[in-house]
Amino acid sequence: MTALTNNLALPFTGIFISLAVFLAGQWLFKKSKGFFLFQPLFFGMVAGIIILIIWGKVQGTSTAYVYRHFYKPGGDIIFWFLNPATIAFAIPLFKRNDVLKKYWLDIIISLVISSVICLFIILGASKLVGLSHSSAAAMLPQAATTAIAMPVAEAIGGNSAVTAIACIVKAVIIYALADVFIKAFRLQHSQIGLGLGLGTGGTIGSAKALQFGVLEGAMASVCVVISGIVVDLVVIPFARLFM
């Protein structure tokens, strides 16, 4: 029995679970013709957590124990690859140097101003519903892509797991409801503005932006990268000043 438990604690378990739930999500997403709750990352996250909860119940241990001993060794290996994957975003950015050279000042000014406005509103909303300090701090960097948002959240005393959830759920909401928001707030007038806005939904938001047009898609990718850097530079001093 202990031999089995030791084997299950090897990284293979976490890697296999991650692949299985993500692929199941991809399959369901395709079969359901893009039903938003089957967005592979979102489905994979929920299914993975449910598997760990059931595993814990069967084994009679807490979910946290199962996570740390059986899932995390493999999960960490996959997570490590976010390092090279994040720096790879320099490539699409470089390929769109033409758009960047024309609008770089507008883009940077817009993203700095809007991120400061958003930070005040998000902090206000967090205080209003009475979030604890670590959860409120976790909410602040969510405009950045998850790989950047998580270390920033930790730097300002936030719970980075909550930040990851925020980034994923936000992307799923944007993917599912972008059309509703665009109609309700009349966002279709500026392609660049819409693209940058959808880019706050990270890579999933960028995929959505591409459905509206090539320029929107390009701007969303630009937003993912630039707002990641803006969040890094703005959120830490903001948290120091206002939290």
């Binding site: 592979p40 957590i49 790879a88």
Partner: protein, 139 residues
């Protein structure tokens, strides 16, 4: 244009890995040199480094493109462990799950709408300033 680039030699995969590893290595050293009051995560520095190397034509696109685009195509999958990480502390969802969801919903709408409107405004102002300058030069 990318289609034509097929004729270019893509660098061997190990060479591409070495470039990524080298950038990450330098980035992690630079990240460690940042003061604790100003944290810059390694991937952010690496991203800027690779962008600069490409823009300054020190690194050629075909040296990094194959591996880079492959990694980007995997990005959804790579985030699965970050999502499942919350299993380490499900209590927080029981305590504040609803409030967290509410704030995420507000943040999603606010980020989308504010970013779109501010960008529209900034571009309009920029165009007006540019237009004004042209007008001045004519005078």
């Amino acid at each position: 244009m990318p289609r034509k680039d097929k004729h270019h030699k893509t660098a061997p995969i190990l060479v591409q890995c070495a470039i990524f590893a080298g950038i990450l290595w330098v980035a992690s050293i630079l990240s460690a040199l940042c003061p604790p009051s100003f944290v810059v995560p390694t991937p952010v520095i690496g991203l800027v480094l690779l962008y600069l190397l490409l823009t300054l034509r020190i690194v050629k696109l075909e040296w990094v493109e194959g591996l880079g685009m492959f990694l980007i195509s995997l990005i959804g999958f790579l985030f699965v462990p970050s999502g499942i990480q919350i299993a380490n502390d499900l209590g927080i969802l029981k305590r504040e799950g609803l409030q967290i969801l509410l704030v995420i919903l507000v943040a999603t709408v606010v980020l989308l709408v504010v970013t779109a409107y501010v960008t529209r405004l900034v571009i309009a102002i920029h165009k007006r300033i540019m237009g004004g300058q042209q007008h001045d030069s004519i005078n």
